[in-house]
């Protein structure tokens, strides 16, 4: 065990993959010599060689296509899209090509690959360094969509993603790279000493398709992923209400059973994500929950999300779900 922040734990997962599987290659913008703008790939080029960890030209559409070609021909590429906001030049390659090639070729060709991409707000990144575009990918059959939240699940989920034979979009909550974020920008702790920063140094996996119950409770189920797991944790504390907190971890395929079982117990539900509300993944969960739990629900399902607007720069704390907004939503579910 070692005390790792999320950057270190992701780096450890990548290093293990490079060591254990000669078919793993890593590339993307600035990931080689420099080690990535967030330093997730630091030292890997030096250790494993420039042919296995290299900088690519600045073209996300090209990066995605190259990754697909490599995947078709026996490699297991792990490409970094420097910010999730910049994934859209690659969207055609991901949605029309990578996601469909297994199906369209009758299973003759597959492209196992992972796109890692930092997502979400809280770093004063404005419109284009803050978005959380997971729903743009959960709507595409053929992709698995993962969103880690802490050093432990980041490493285990990334190893699962790389070893998965399906293409995976792997979102990393950049606000939580160096510490959990509890919704107070003036008080940002590091991961040091946090139980989820206790990370095995060797290989382990956190299975895709499995949610994590962060804390058990009986009065309300709060579902979140990424940075919002920690903000929700704070909100639950602030509300003083006995909530069950679920960290979804994988969005496609999501762990509906864990969610449904929890709501059958609590009868109440709050869904939290940073992305805009309309057609967000919360809408999908909300619809599924009412299909499965209609007669168990004691109150309307609440969604606390980013607004249906572009992500702002200076006013980001009024955009992102805050502990206050989430706590208010929890309280709303308690009204008979």
């Amino acid at each position: 065990m070692a005390d790792m922040n999320m950057i270190k734990s992701l780096n450890s997962a990548l290093s293990i993959s490079l060591k254990e599987d000669p078919n793993v290659v890593i590339f993307g913008e600035d990931v080689g010599f420099f080690g990535g703008v967030f330093r997730v790939t630091e030292g890997l080029q030096k250790e494993y060689g420039a042919h296995r960890v290299f900088d690519s030209p600045l073209a996300e559409g090209g990066i995605a296509a190259i990754a697909m070609g490599m995947g078709l021909n026996g490699l297991r590429p792990v490409a970094e899209i420097q910010f999730a906001d910049y994934i859209f030049p690659a969207y055609d390659q991901i949605v029309n090509e990578i996601a469909k090639v297994r199906h369209r070729s009758g299973g003759e060709f597959t492209a196992p690959l992972t796109f890692r991409t930092p997502a979400g707000g809280g770093i004063k990144g404005g419109h284009h360094h803050s978005q959380s575009p997971e729903a743009q990918f959960t709507h595409t059959p053929g992709l698995k969509v993962v969103y880690c939240s802490n050093p432990y699940n980041a490493k285990g989920l990334l190893l699962s993603a790389i070893e998965c034979n399906d293409p995976v979009i792997f979102f990393e909550p950049k606000r939580c790279y160096r510490g959990p974020f509890y919704g107070d920008p003036h008080n940002v702790p590091t991961w040091s000493g946090h139980p989820d920063a206790e990370v095995p140094e060797g290989h382990y996996t956190v299975p895709l398709e499995q949610a994590r119950v962060v804390q058990e409770g009986n009065a309300c189920t709060v579902i979140a992923y990424g940075t919002m797991v920690h903000v929700a944790e704070q909100a639950i504390k602030d509300s003083g209400i006995d909530c069950e907190l679920i960290d979804l971890q994988t969005l496609v395929p999501w762990d509906r059973d864990t969610v449904v079982n929890s709501i059958k117990k609590t009868g109440r539900c709050v869904i939290v994500h940073e992305a805009p509300k309309t057609s967000g993944f919360g809408a999908e969960m909300s619809a599924s929950i009412q299909e499965r739990c209609f007669y168990h629900l004691e109150a309307p399902i609440q969604r606390v999300t980013g607004w249906d607007t572009p992500f702002p720069h200076t006013t980001e704390w009024d955009y992102m779900p805050s502990p206050q907004r989430i706590a208010d939503a929890i309280k709303k579910t308690q009204v008979e």
Partner: protein, 413 residues
Amino acid sequence: MTERRTATTAPYTIGIPPFRPGEKADFGGSFKEQPEDLNRPDPATCTSDETTLHARGLVRVLDDNGEAKGEWNPNLDKATMIEGLEYMMRLRIFDDRMIKMQRTGKLSFYMRSFGEEAIAIAQTMALKEQDWIFPSYRQPGAQFVRGRDMVSMICHCIGNTEDNVRGRQMPVHYTYKEGRFISISSPVGTQFSQAVGVAMASAYQGKDEVCISWLGDGTSAQGDYHYALNFASTFKPPVILNVVNNQWAISTHSNLATGGKTFAERGLAYDIPSFRVDGNDFLALYSITQWARQRTEAGLGPTHIEIYTYRAGAHSSSDDPSAYRPNDEATCWPGGDPIQRLKDHLISIGVWDEEKHSELAQKIDDDVMTAYKEACEFGDLASGPYPPASTIFTEVYETVPWHIQEQREELGK
């Protein structure tokens, strides 16, 4: 190279095709470029600068009289040339049968390779069997070279129970892994940059493999084309990147696709050796591809080729070219017909004659008909049977996840 025609009335430049319906198509009779104009540089030492004239001229082997000439003559033995002729004839007859059947509803849609048969066939023949073919939709002929059975190809086109892609894709979107022919998809150009990744993987694994890919003059406006050239230029993997300039992207003439002079010379800016080749000249296509493969064997990576040809038929079964170009334009095209040109050459060197040609055509016609009938025994689009509906839900992921399993159960099939 003909002068680009543009509208003079617009406030900015609007390209227009050389001829519109009602106008007399006249390309000046024959190409001014001749087989002996251009040298064949050493692929193991050639720089992109040495191909400047090749990117602006036209690499040819067969002259206007069907004689093979110049440094680019690959000096193929007669068996190889007759094999190429047979594949091209087979593709044309196959296409004709399919388009007839499309008219009867046996398949939903079809795309012929009419006038472009030499391209994928000559190029695939010039490669090695371990090389990867990453085609667009007008290179199905490569599958003949790689030994694919026509029955299997037809089963795909008519979407029956034996379609190896299980009725999921439109006709002509072939997949043939055994022949290293990678799955075709409809979005144009995406394969071009993927091909660079395939080639990088081959290089990474230390294998003597090349990846060849094609896209059209219209598609070369896509970002994927430029990604491909730039990544190929940067990493220099063993890839052969072809722009098939058949001059027409559905109704959009290449005069509207670019303001540049040739497509080939774009590659020079990426420091990739670039050639413009007569796309109806089987021998020139074979030769240029051989050159490109030799270049990869020397460890020097990519070659960029503009294949100058003419789309003699409609874009697809849904298209009517008489609405936007003169009906006789194809016959006025100086590049002629690729099958006729190789046939004339073979006759001129005394290894072929009209009688052999007719016999072969008849035999192929019979083979195609036999294959067609056999394929129809497994069903066709008009009357089924189709692949089972359960194939909607399989192979989306390696294993069927719960939500897709539930949806399959909801359909109840």
